[in-house]
Symmetry: D2
Subunit: 99 residues, 4 copies
């Protein structure tokens, strides 16, 4: 199981607001069964890495279908195989140590 | 006002678990008045960019004080000056378009 | 054509030196026909995005086959479709403006 | 000594070409004594981390002075303190293992 952080941004769209594109990209993710969390700086996704990468590929394509000609996509993969690895588990692990 | 995504990871610590270090780093942030949100992949911070960078510098130093000899820090700054720019505002802007 | 920046790092390996893993990952890339450039902070790859992502997937797997149990992979994709987009072209474009 | 990877991109500039901004940002770096290498995906800088961060702060500001209202800056810091840590040394270390 991998947990990834994903941010997809169109460049040169003529306006500094990109939330329209972000929403379009997010909608694709919501059409899947992958567990995810939208944040102010990107989306966190948990699941099988191959499934995640297949969806990321479709998400990256979306701004082009909305007229963008350049898209900057940032992906950080945290893949751990010696124990269960989930969004909730990672957070819990840090929060326990903060008590 | 800037919104940043920050992730600080020690390398070569002998164990794949880094939540102890993440908690130490997070504690420094909690000692400031900066608005922030801990996520499973990093911390999102909002505020004056110079204030944020000063705290990030101290946070980056922390794993060394806990024995790490190599630290990998990843920082993504989203700095927007034509309108109010906050963690809550950015999220709201996307969520409105998802309705 | 996309240009990507890729960095693959094992966590918790017991030593802060990761060049052995980086070399193993790089060797996979050299076995392909994709144009690329090794830098001190990661590898830059140019080509068809689907081809690149297929190789990145294999590269990400490599440290696990060498004993790592956690791998952190960072990928930044710059995908531009209104003009030719290559490593050499991007560099040239900036350097012309620096003269 | 730290080695960092830096990429600074204005959003919403009306054109997908950002090399003009990249050149302006690079010119600031060239006005310093910091060792650096321009690549197709960002700039690699080596030196004292505090010096680097002070220059990065000025570089991040530059696109605003050229009319941008939103700037996305990505910074990856690799800070290692158990041995000499330089752009050339990191590359050499991987290349030796590739022979």
């Amino acid at each position: 199981m991998a947990v990834v952080f994903l941010s997809i941004t169109p460049l040169g769209t003529g306006t500094p607001s990109v939330s329209r594109y972000v929403a379009g990209v997010e909608r694709i993710l919501r059409g899947t069964s992958l567990k995810h969390q939208l944040t102010a700086m990107g989306t966190i996704i948990e699941g099988d890495l191959d499934e995640i990468l297949a969806v990321v590929r479709r998400m990256h394509e979306h701004p082009f279908s909305e007229g963008a000609v350049r898209v900057s996509t940032f992906l950080k993969i945290d893949d751990r195989r010696d124990k269960e690895h989930t969004i909730a588990g990672k957070l819990r692990s840090v929060e326990e140590k903060l008590r």
